[in-house]
């Protein structure tokens, strides 16, 4: 029982990442009708927002302390980040919490990147076929990847978890179980809560703001909304920016769990497309549900008990589910009928 609960939790944090990426993909697809293969690259850019943010925070001065000598007789180098110099303990706190704080940095950056991308390239592809959209965004993804590679190299760049959150949370104890029966890394729990928060925010935004209402109306019938005198294209551009932000913050927070390199987006892209398809093209709740569902499925499939029965199932379970869903129910779990069905 404990093992099952542990796997459930394990799946939830991975599912959170899948759900966030799939949510962005679905937003773009539902509003603009564009199949965005560059969405994984946006996730990757988010990861590197965290890397850059930490780099900026830890620009440091090196002074040589003549009093102290290291055991092998060399003078000790004192490295103090400038931030710490200026702000004291506050600065140390900033450096320690660089990853969660980088979300604040990632939001404006990703918003700008998303809007520039949409205005500069994607907008020319609304009228073209889906195949051409796939191709151009695939090319764009390669370009973005290579730009990142030329700046940061090809090695993964691990990011530290804030020291307060490095421990394991005793999740079992919160629910009245015995202590230490079910523990879970705190950061993963934070990620799960964070992803739930972002998802909730996006849904609330779409549901309860005028802007969201207009966008939903535009998703249903773009022309009519345009005829009513609303500049729907501009709203859709902003929605593209928001999708980029969602992918970006998902990436920034994921960096301590998986050290990012320039290819991280591609691996997530394929999976998140599968998630979108399983959830149903164009359905926001579908993307979220399918994201968590597939995350949980994957973590259950990687249990030893399962892999000993069907070896290798953990590698392919997601694709298998996707294939079955596509063949049996092409509109996905919660897809509207008539969206890209043939």
């Amino acid at each position: 029982m404990d093992a099952i609960l542990a796997q459930l939790l394990n799946g939830l944090d991975k599912g959170g990442a899948y759900a966030l990426i799939a949510l962005g993909l679905t937003l773009v697809f539902g509003t603009l009708g564009v199949v965005n293969f560059a969405h994984g690259a946006l996730f990757m850019l988010g990861c590197f927002c965290a890397v850059v943010f930490r780099y900026l925070l830890t620009i440091e001065t090196v002074t040589i302390d003549p009093e102290q000598l290291s055991p092998w007789g060399a003078p000790v180098e004192l490295r103090t980040p400038l931030v710490q110099d200026w702000l004291g303990d506050w600065g140390a706190f900033l450096v320690d919490y660089s990853v969660p704080l980088s979300v604040l940095f990632a939001v404006p950056v990703m918003l700008v990147i998303g809007i520039v991308m949409e205005r500069g390239l994607i907008k020319h592809f609304y009228k073209r076929s889906h195949a051409e959209q796939i191709l151009v965004t695939f090319g764009l993804a390669i370009v973005l990847q290579e730009i990142v590679k030329s700046f940061f190299g090809a090695n993964p760049m691990p990011q530290p978890i804030p020291s307060d959150l490095r421990s394991a949370a005793d999740v079992g104890a919160w629910f009245g179980m015995e202590a230490h029966t079910l523990t879970y890394p705190t950061w993963r729990l934070v990620y799960l809560l964070f992803s739930l928060g972002v998802i909730g925010a996006v849904f609330a935004f779409m549901r309860y703001t005028t802007f969201g209402m207009v966008v939903r109306a535009g998703m249903a019938d773009r022309e009519t909304v345009g005829v009513l005198g609303i500049d729907i294209d501009r709203r859709f551009t902003i929605i593209f920016g928001i999708a980029a932000v969602v992918a970006g913050v998902a990436g920034a927070m994921y960096t301590p769990l998986l050290a990012p390199n320039y290819q991280i987006g591609m691996d997530f892209l394929v999976l998140s497309f599968v998630v979108v398809v399983v959830g149903g093209m164009g359905s926001l709740p579908g993307a979220v549900v399918a994201g968590f569902l597939l995350g949980i499925l994957q973590s259950f499939a990687s249990m030893n008990e399962i892999t000993s029965i069907i070896p290798g199932i953990d590698q392919v379970i997601i694709y298998l589910v996707a294939i079955v869903i596509l063949l049996v129910r092409p509109r996905g779990l919660m897809g509207r009928s008539g969206v890209m069905e043939s």
């Binding site: 290579e146 394929v270 497309f273 596509l326």
Partner: protein
């Protein structure tokens, strides 16, 4: 079967001439060594096969690298178990890739559009992950499948063909060595045959049916035409071409690794086809050659070469140019590739073939213009 219009025949002859004289016209370009030319030829076969599916039917498969991988593995296994001869290796590579394509195609073709792309992608990724993990006894995992001196090689032992030389056995054709130029010419012959086949398919009623499916599948079905078997045949044929290419890769270098099956490889294949021109006969070949050529040339350029190239510029300017350009060559040549690709899709969706056609048309029009203005002037005079 062998009836040809004059135009097609000329095309085939010109193509043959171009392929066979590759060592001559590639030497000023600095690419006339056999290993690279074999790559040119093999990837051209791969792209031709992909074009039969994507170019004719418009179904964008993102999983063709899987067939290439299957072809490679089969060929190496044939080297290990049967014989070092390339004929059984290629034969089995094509057959197995075809069976594999039949299986994947049967399921994937139930959906169209983006769903088809994602289905093929899912299947290919599945085979890729399996090749790395569970199928390690067959694929030898990350190391890649290698031949060894003491493999059984049933046919070779039966015929008493022993490896006389010391060292690793090498693939051969009826006892001929396949290293260097002879290897290239064998591959080139295969490419010419493949080009011929694709020409025939393009000109056949079958090819016409596929094009009809591309332009309007629903209407095709309303006319009482069952499109499924046609699509499946096209898918299998294109998978077999990929298997053949994979087999040839194993012939030129008897090792097969799972990284050939990764979906970015399928992406590269799509790049090649689009760059040259989808749905044209020679487009994919040109695309494959260009990409493989630039991969070799661009990735070999380093900062020293750039420095000497920009020597004529003033000092500060030179270093700026070198820093900027060095991002686009060497390790970063993929950046150039991606940029070129985006530009092609945006401005020239028909690829280079369409681009040249447009240019030709413009030239013709500009040379026509003076004459037409003269004639109109003449007609005005008459009236």
């Amino acid at each position: 079967m062998f009836s040809f219009t004059r135009k097609q025949f000329t095309m085939l002859v010109v193509f043959t001439a171009i392929v066979l004289t590759m060592p001559i016209w590639l030497s000023p370009l600095g690419a006339a060594y056999p290993g690279l030319m074999q790559k040119f030829v093999i990837y051209a076969i791969f792209a031709i096969g992909f074009n039969i599916l994507f170019g004719l039917t418009g179904y964008l498969s993102f999983g063709h690298a899987a067939f290439l991988g299957v072809g490679s593995y089969t060929a190496v296994w044939s080297f290990k178990l049967l014989s070092m001869d390339m004929i059984p290796a290629l034969f089995f590579a094509v057959i197995f890739a075809g069976i594999f394509a039949l299986f994947i195609g049967y399921f994937s073709l139930r959906r169209s559009g983006i769903y088809f792309s994602i289905l093929t992608l899912a299947f290919a990724q599945m085979s890729y992950s399996l090749a790395y993990s569970v199928l390690t006894p067959i694929t030898n995992g990350e190391t890649g499948l290698l031949i060894a001196r003491d493999d059984p090689r049933a046919i070779d032992t039966m015929l008493g063909v022993g490896q006389s030389t010391s060292g690793m056995p090498m693939p051969s054709l009826m006892g001929f060595d396949l290293t260097g130029y002879s290897g290239f010419y064998i591959c080139a012959l295969v490419l010419i045959v493949c080009f011929f086949v694709s020409q025939k398919i393009f000109a056949s009623p079958f090819g016409m049916a596929l094009r009809c499916i591309k332009s309007n599948q629903t209407r095709m079905m309303y006319t009482g035409f069952n499109t499924k078997p046609y699509m499946l045949t096209a898918f299998v044929i294109s998978g077999m071409f990929a298997g053949l290419a994979g087999g040839l890769l194993a012939v030129t270098d008897p090792i097969a690794g799972a990284e050939r099956m990764k979906w970015t490889e399928s992406g590269n294949l799509v790049l090649m086809t689009i760059l040259g021109g989808v749905g044209t006969l020679v487009g994919p070949v040109i695309g494959a050659w260009l990409i493989k050529y630039f991969e070799n040339i661009f990735s070999a350029i380093n900062t020293n070469m750039l420095n000497s190239f920009f020597e004529f510029l003033p000092d500060g300017f030179q270093s700026v140019m070198v820093t900027v350009m060095s991002k686009f060559v060497g390790e970063g040549w993929h950046l150039t590739l991606g940029l070129v690709f985006v530009l092609i899709v945006v401005f020239l969706p028909g690829g280079l073939v369409e681009g040249t056609e447009r240019l030709m048309r413009r030239f013709r029009r500009s040379s026509d213009k003076p004459r037409s203005s003269v004639s109109s002037a003449a007609s005005e005079e008459r009236s």
